[in-house]
Structure formats: C-alpha cells, structure tokens
Assembly symmetry: none
Homo-oligomer: 252 residues x 2
DNA sequence: AAAATTAATGAGCCTTACTCACCATGTCCA
DNA sequence: TGGACATGGTGAGTAAGGCTCATTAATTTT
C-alpha cells in the first residue's frame, strides 16, 4: 500500500558519476547490445546490463520504459548503422540479374557478419506485438522495396513476365534467406554468402524471366557462341580467299 | 531455509476428482492448447491453464516438467493430428507441377485453418534452444523432405535442371510461405491458399525447369544453338578441306 | 550562495514460474 | 474388513527478475 519508502541512511556511497543524458543513453545501449547479443532477449537480465554499464537498475528505467523498449531501441540503432550507404553501392551495378544478386548477397552478408543481432530480430523482435510500429519494420520495408523496384523495372522493360504479385517475390527472397541462414544462426554450420546468393538469385531470376527473351547466362552463352561462329566463318572466308587467290578467282 | 512446511488445516476442501493419468494429461493439454492459442506463450499463465483445467498449478508440474515442455507437447500433439493421412492424398496426384502445387497448397491451408498454432510454432517454439530435439522438428523435416523428393525426381527425369542445392529449394518454398502468411497470422489481412499456391509454385517451377523443355520459347534458344553448331561444322569442314587440300593429302 | 534542475540511487513491490511436504482416494490382499 | 501401498492431487511457500518511486547528489541557473 504505502511502499517505496526510503529509509535515510548514511552508509558510505560510492562516487556517483553524472553524465549528460545522451552519453548515458549511448552507454546503456552499447552494453545492452552486447548483453542481448550474448544471452538473447529472455536470458538477458536488466540487472546485468545495469551492472556492466556502471549504473543501477533504476537508471535504465529512467531512459527506457522497459526491457522491450530497450531491445527495440538497440536493434533500431544497429539497423540504421547497417543501412548507411547502401544505395550508393547499388548505383554502380547494371543489369537485372546483377542488381538482384547484389541485394540478395548484401542481405546474406549482413546475417553472416552480425548473426547475434539478426537472431534477435528474427527470433525475438519480430514476434512482439508492436513490431509493425517500430522503425525496424519501416526501415526493413523500405529496404526490401528497393529489391522490388528492381523486379518492377524488369517487368516494365519486358525482361520479366508480369502477373506475379511483387509481395510474393519479396517473401520468397527474404523468407528463403531467413530459413537458409537458420542453422548458421544457431551456430550449427557455415554458409557462403556468395554461393547462397548465386543459388537464390538463380531460382528467382529464372522464375520471373520471360521465357525465351533472356535466359540470363544461357542467352549470353548463345551470343558468345554465335560470335565464335562468326569468327570461324570469317576465318573460313579468309582461307577461301587464299584459296581463290591461288586458283585465280580474285585479285590478290 | 526450511520452507515448504505444510500446516495442518481442517478447512472445508472442495471435492477432489481423481482421474487416470492419461485422462488428466489429455485434459491439461487440451486446455493448454486453448490458452496458448489465445494468449501466446509468454502471456499464457500456468495459473490460468490450471484453473481452466480444473486443477491446481502443482498438478500441472506433476505431469509436465515446466511451461516450455508443456508448449512442446501441445504443439507435437497438434502436429501429429495434422500430418495424419497426408501422404495418401499425394498419391493421387500426377505431374511435377501438380504435386509441388499440392504440397505448397497443403502447407498454406494448414496455416489458414489453424493460425494460432502456427503462430506458436513460428514465433515461440522455433526459437527455443532445444527445438532441434523436438518431435516437431523431426516431423517437419520429414514432411518437407517429401517436397524435395518431388524436386529430386524431376531432376532425375531431366524435367528440372540439376545443380541447385535441394535445401535452397526447401528454404525458399517454406520460408516464402512463412513470410507470405505473416500478416494473416497477425490478424491483419486474408490470403487465399489457392492463389498463393499458384504464385509460389509458379516461381519455383519456372525457376527450376530445364530451359526449352517446358517453356515454349525456350525452344527458340535450342534452335539457335543447333544453328550455331551447324555453322561451326560447316566452317570446320571447309577449313579441313582447305587444309588437306593445301598439304596435298587429298584431291581437290 | 541559494534555488532550481536534472542525474542517479537502491530498497522494496509484484508477478509468475516452480517446489515440496503433505493429504486423499483407490486397489490389493490377507 | 482393514491395513499397506501406490498413485492422484493440493496449496502454501520460494525464487527470480522486471519494475517503481521517495530520496539524495551533482550541476546549472539566478
């Protein structure tokens, strides 16, 4: 009823260091990221985060409304770091296959480089009720939309057939990547972002491409073969010329 | 230190109904399934399950080692129901496309019919550390393997091209389905298992099919390749003739 | 230097999973 | 029929961890 009554005490108290709000928040988030990464959400204890951040539990609740909000803030923070100069790289890449492959490879690389954070997002953050209100949701949507823009462009240009809902494409790419990286995220195996990106891009590209128009590298192979044929023919022509020269059919 | 001492009391106690172990376990699991479905894992309280099952908390711990084991048992129970006479239906279906489509449609239908249980599996069960030791993991693996068997057959027969790792196919199908059904599982929209199955099967099938075998204008590519081969042969023949002619090995 | 503001504290509250000493009911058998 | 035994069931109590808030301390403003 009348709880929370503090008793006056005069025990020696350790020196209290006061920091500007922004600094303290940054400290706590950094520590929280580490603890959440190591232990996962449920096993991480606010008490441990507080201790490692050099504050007391109550201090954390002064800056974050609860454990869940702390998790969300930590992940948002990380996510923004990751997305920095993402677009710039894409600008330098030409061709639908290459652009799709880049987006897929990039996503796989993020998982490969920061498995702990990705595990947090996949396993904990995304199942919280307010996920769709977080910045992570928004950022993620924005960023997968860039992949869909590539697909849309290819549909507009006639390279891809139309009629496949874009969201299904998104779901197959990112759902596929997620399931693909599971065992790695559990620490039960490795994967190569390069090889995996090739395999996934391959299925998606061929699943969407307009038949006969441009079967990616198959088309390229044919083109090169035709070039070879041309060169051989030219070579043959030259031989013919030589021959005709000898036989007096033309001026040499 | 010396806790857990029961005081003798003679207060009126409600009638205690004793049931055989199997019956009590079944009752508790049924109630637990309902409560977990309604509230999700973390918000479900053992106290509520106990009350609705007409027992006291301690009774539940007599039959289940903890909340997590209860969840696992509940989901295993449900999963086995679902998988009953699954194969029999597949037997009547012919053709790779139809068989794949059936497997995908079936999975989508399960999610559609029992969203609460699927949400439990996707959001809670699969992130627990001992997931890979559960029967659900094993059953799930077995059942997705049937999809891969269809793909493998098509590769063997030449309908599908080879070289794509089967597990990537699995991951894209089931990961795609999972992401596809998310918004529905959050209660934020509907989906049609039929239409979704068509779209997903479409991408997967065309992503795997050997170009030119079933894709109309792929024929075009083969024709051009054959033309190239012809020209190469003609060019080679001519060169050979010329060469042998020049070196006098044959009569020109 | 006093007042106001803001940072930080830490004892204690509250919920909830889980334990365990005991009690009740049914069955077997002399 | 009544004791022994097995098994179903209880509920008060503990532990752990998230969270609160009255109070205190450092810093800034006046």
């Amino acid at each position: 009823m009348s709880g929370y009554r503090a008793v006056p005490n005069s025990l020696p108290r350790r020196q209290i260091y006061r920091l500007p709000r922004a600094q303290r928040v940054a400290d706590i988030m950094l520590t929280a990221r580490a603890v959440f990464s190591e232990k996962g959400y449920t096993d991480a204890m606010i008490a441990e985060i507080a201790e490692r951040a050099g504050v007391v539990e109550g201090t954390i609740y002064r800056y974050f409304s609860g454990k869940r909000e702390l998790l969300i803030k930590v992940v948002e923070d990380w996510y923004e770091e990751i997305l920095t100069d993402y677009d710039r790289q894409l600008l330098g890449i030409r061709g639908t296959w290459n652009r799709l492959r880049f987006m897929i490879w990039r996503h796989l690389s993020v998982v490969h480089n920061d498995p702990a954070m990705c595990r947090l997002i996949f396993n904990e953050l995304r199942s919280v009720p307010e996920y769709r209100e977080t910045a992570v949701f928004e950022l993620n949507r924005e960023y997968t939309n860039r992949t869909l823009a590539i697909v849309q462009e290819a549909m507009d240009s006639g390279e891809f057939r139309v009629g496949i809902p874009l969201r299904v494409v998104r779901e197959m790419i990112y759902g596929g990547i997620e399931h693909h990286t599971w065992s790695f995220l559990r620490g039960e195996g490795e994967f190569s972002p390069e090889d995996s990106a090739d395999a996934i891009t391959d299925i998606i590209y061929r699943g969407l491409v307009r038949s006969g128009v441009a079967i990616d590298r198959g088309e390229e192979a044919i083109r090169r073969l035709e070039e070879v044929a041309d060169r051989l023919e030219r070579a043959a022509d030259m031989s013919e010329e030589e021959l005709s020269c000898k036989t007096g059919k033309s001026a040499c």
